[in-house]
Amino acid sequence: MINSKIFLRASLAVTLAGIAAGCTTINVDQVRLKDTLEWEQGDAMVVLGRHQTPEIQTEASLVACIGGKLRAGTKNIKIIPEPEFVNAFYPWFEARTAPLRPKKLQKVLKVPPVAQKLKAMRIKYFVWVEGSTERTASAGSMSCSIGPGGGGCFGFGTWEDTSDYETTIWDVATFEEVGRVSTEAVGTSYMPAFVVPIPLLAQVEGDACKGMGRQLVRFFNKTDGDGLKIRK
């Protein structure tokens, strides 16, 4: 009888949590500053994360994820992975030395070996990603115990993660910003525990990557539809 009650409660908790799990709200905004983006077969683009201060530390996993989405969504464009690019151009794109504005990039490209390598790699655009995913709220409690006869956890925990990212696209030919895509994603995760904790996680960073990646693919393929802002 007690067992059945406990199971009932547990299944209710799991069902309730399951209904709400994975709920992530995403907002994606885009500004296009240049109407035409010129590409030739074999041209390349690099996606880089911002790390200029200890507070601004864009996750490498997100940068790699956005690179993957662009690789999958664009044709005939090579997407250079961040570690490969940063090592090839060491020391010009380190946390302390990376240019923060397109005009600073122009200054970096005045260094002949840098300009030569960039030309050789046919890099046309820089995609800079800045932001992070942080825990913004948490509630509930859970206690776990372990003994000679076994162990288990009881309780319920919930937390909210918020991703806030902004990508800036630079044109290497003109040293100008050509577009901006920003994403805000908020997701709540749940962890009911009855002997075994059942994590029902909202993939906030992953969802932010999907949203941003999709929009960047549209941006580069020029399929971003109506409502885009064009400044001339």
């Binding site: 067992n3 200890p54 020391p91 302390r96 030395t97 260094v111 076994g150 075994v196």
Partner: protein, 235 residues
């Protein structure tokens, strides 16, 4: 049905207990202080060579630099940075300048790096999910006659976020590499712009430019003298 579930849950509990024991032992092991030898992974900088012949002198103290932790409660017991920092300095200066031996007569400058400070933090100390390393070097720049030209202090900072299945030694190694890269980046980008180095490069370039001019003047003078002599002989 309930009985079957009960049996199942008992089995699960046992499995969980074994897993937790494993996890607890991992946590205990992670809590122990560790010895780390940093394995450097610093790429060669993409910079233009400056026209200076430089000898990089690694003192015995620098060659054998190992950070030893005195506090037993801290995460590290020792961190051996010796090879890694020598590799970084060699990579930077061999790309940036012409490396020469100590007794080379064409030597313009001697670079003597010295470790001024080393600090670190681990997640169990800061409650932040990251390992951090801070490095501070004094770089003595000596003229060809070994008299002092300048002292240059360079600081480097590196951090690694904690990640699943990343051990403390791996994380410290990674943070130390980031800090060394930071120091290397500053050396590679700022060395040619250092006031006294800039003056030295300018003076050497000027000397180089003047050398062919002086040689041609000398040649002209010699030719003139020869012509004069020839003329005199003709007379």
């Amino acid at each position: 049905m309930i009985a079957t579930n009960h049996k199942l849950s008992l089995g699960l509990v046992k499995k969980l207990a074994i897993r937790w024991l494993g996890l607890v032992s991992l946590v205990i092991l992670a809590g122990c202080s560790t010895k780390v030898t940093v394995d450097a992974d610093i790429p060669r900088p993409l910079v233009e060579k400056v026209p200076l012949n430089v000898h990089v002198k690694f003192t015995d103290e620098f060659r054998n630099h190992v950070y030893e932790e005195n506090e037993k409660k801290r995460s590290l017991s020792s961190l051996d940075l010796a090879q890694a920092q020598m590799q970084m300095f060699s990579a930077v200066f061999s790309t940036l300048t012409n490396l020469v031996s100590a007794d080379d007569p064409s030597k313009d400058l001697t670079v003597v790096p010295e470790v001024l400070d080393f600090q670190y933090t681990a997640p169990n100390e800061t409650k932040l999910k990251q390992y951090e390393i801070f490095l501070k070097y004094r770089i003595k720049l000596l003229k060809s006659d070994d008299s002092s030209l300048a002292d240059w202090v360079v600081k480097g900072y590196g951090k690694t976020p904690t990640a699943l299945l990343t051990s403390a030694p791996q994380a410290f190694n990674s943070a130390a590499n980031v800090a060394l890269r930071d120091v290397g980046a500053q050396l590679a980008t700022r060395f040619p712009g250092q006031r006294k180095i800039k003056a030295m490069i300018a003076s050497k370039t000027e000397q180089k430019e003047q050398a062919p001019l002086a040689a041609s003047v000398e040649n002209q003078q010699e030719n003139g003298y020869a012509q004069q002599t020839e003329g005199n002989q003709d007379d």
